[in-house]
Symmetry: C2
Subunit: 345 residues, 2 copies
């Protein structure tokens, strides 16, 4: 149904004096319902840096479309925050160090993809993740030799391997790092990415590993200053549900891209059902289910045809400390190749 502009009014009157008046006895056609997503974007301001990101991403896509022909994956990573105040002191956060996203990005890069890494600021980054967020302090990797800072020999050989991969990704312009913090920034940036990536159609892959809040506090209800605690008071926070954007991603913003999302649960009894529910609701191509407790050792690929395929590290692979993303990414890429083939027919 075509939305009706509010300017189009219908006049029904034979009274010449009333020619210019609106006859309110004739009801307007119902105005097309705004989707929850549209309502959200109408009532929440875009982050001010969005035009800058648009430029960077356009250049990145243009470069690869014209020069390398690489497929491009958007990897989202880390948790979004939900600010509870405008001058943010308190916020609700989702648990995620960003390990899944950062590790996956490395395997995509090594398999020839260009990667847009949309990540929670200060969460783990591809390659540098090996040295941050450990119990080691940055300076524990360093030592002083002849009045010069050097890399501690215990770490030097492995660091050289990682550094080379990182420099290769940077020099080939295959890795674009974009940060977000709160859920509003995430939603606006994701929408923008989807619209821009539509240019490369089915060569675009969305790999949505970020832990996005289900609930948020609307900007209209947000207190300007820090919430004050009362003498013996309780705090009651009344949150709204975040609109389910994934459906729009498929239908409107990037209909020809392949979309993979994650479903993280803590209760194994509901994992498969929740993953299937997400597939039904969003109509994308693959949901990867995982449990908080075992997510580094096993995941399940759930497809629209109902098939479930478990991917697990073997005991030997666990002993070698292999990343499960080393199994996940080649399997996702295979499905992306099939998607491209099917779409191109």
């Amino acid at each position: 149904m075509t939305p009706r502009s509010p300017q189009q009014k219908t006049y029904h009157t034979s009274n010449p004096v009333a020619e210019t008046a609106i006859d309110r006895t004739i009801p307007d056609l119902p105005i097309a319902q705004l989707s929850d997503e549209d309502k959200y974007f109408r009532t929440h301001k875009a982050p001010p840096y969005l035009p800058e990101i648009e430029q960077q991403v356009n250049d990145f896509i243009e470069y690869h479309a014209s020069n390398t022909g690489k497929r491009i994956v958007l990897v989202t990573s880390g948790g979004t925050t939900v600010p509870l105040e405008n001058n943010t002191v308190r916020f609700i956060d989702n648990f995620s160090a960003g390990t899944r996203g950062a590790t996956s990005a490395e395997y995509f890069l090594e398999n020839g993809y260009a990667v847009i890494f949309l990540h929670r600021e200060f969460s783990l980054l591809p390659y540098s993740r090996h040295y941050s967020h450990t119990t080691n302090c940055f300076l524990d990797y360093m030592t002083e030799v002849n009045n010069k800072v050097e890399i501690n020999p215990d770490f030097a050989d492995e660091m050289l391997v990682v550094l080379r991969k990182y420099k290769e990704a940077k020099e080939s312009q295959s890795l674009l790092l974009l940060p977000f913090t709160n859920v509003n920034q995430y939603l606006y940036t994701l929408k923008l990415m989807a619209i821009l990536l539509q240019k490369i159609e089915n060569k675009a892959l969305f790999y949505l590993a970020a832990a996005v809040s289900d609930f948020f506090l609307p900007q209209s209800r947000m207190p300007h200053h820090k919430i004050q605690s009362q003498a013996a008071g309780k705090l009651i926070i009344d949150l709204e549900q975040v609109p389910k954007f994934l459906r729009r991603l498929v239908d409107n913003w990037a209909p020809s891209a392949m979309i993979v999302s994650f479903k993280l649960e803590t209760d194994h009894l509901i994992l498969i059902d929740k993953a299937k529910g997400a597939l039904d609701r969003y109509q994308h191509q693959l949901v990867i289910g995982n449990l908080l407790q075992t997510r580094k050792k096993e995941v399940v690929f759930v497809h629209p045809d109902g098939s479930e395929v478990w991917i697990r590290l073997t005991d030997e692979q666990k002993a070698k400390d292999m990343d499960i993303e080393g199994l996940i990414i080649p399997a996702v890429i295979k499905e992306h190749s099939q998607w491209i083939e099917k779409y191109s027919k």
Copy 2:
């Protein structure tokens, strides 16, 4: 009033058969009211690693008491989380990168204090803060020269200065790093520190820069699994107020230590009143007030006698990118010296 042990029962009977029975017609003396803090500790489990921390801190205090005679400051730093689920996916967090705490710890070390740094895991650490949480990735500090990882020459000289200070702090055993994540871990660890630091009496300084949650979700009400979002549902989170521990710190746990706490607000109109309110309530020696917007440039020392002293970076100091902690710490140390002198009379 002295609390009455529950074992102390009073027997009033002349019936020999009933000699060993409790006469319930005589009411027990009223049992001393549990403070909010006691109630909290009775209904919330201690983190399992607490005995290990106790050992480390005991050794640290013992070492300095016997060998160096240094004063010891407990610096708390970073924000506490409030888990909303037992298998934590979602939590409420307080904004704090830990800059104030990490920077202050460096100035305490350089002024001859031994520092226990009780910090939010992965927040900024003394010295390494110069290289983490920047927009630079860890590996951007590195470069490859003749098949070897080296420090990028742009950073090498400054890094040598920082590395030397860090190694000095470590080798003199003057810096003990202890992490926390959630508010329960913070409260248990703070209480333990207070009890242990009582050994060095007025040579102990508490410098409480952590951003501690005012509200929490009691363990008894916490769902075991991830909260499920309903079709069109809202989420209402009903939180309890965190007991005000600072008073107990003064009265019971570490009555001879000097205690400094911070009051962070976003509204300048209420800052001083809130700081004075905290002083009245907790009876400690100094509250440092600061506004979220200007906290890196100015703070206000508020004292029990009502005096307010603003500490501000000059334009020249700002131009040199000087840390305001370079002004705060010497001023705090001066007050600690006065405290020791007064107490020793």
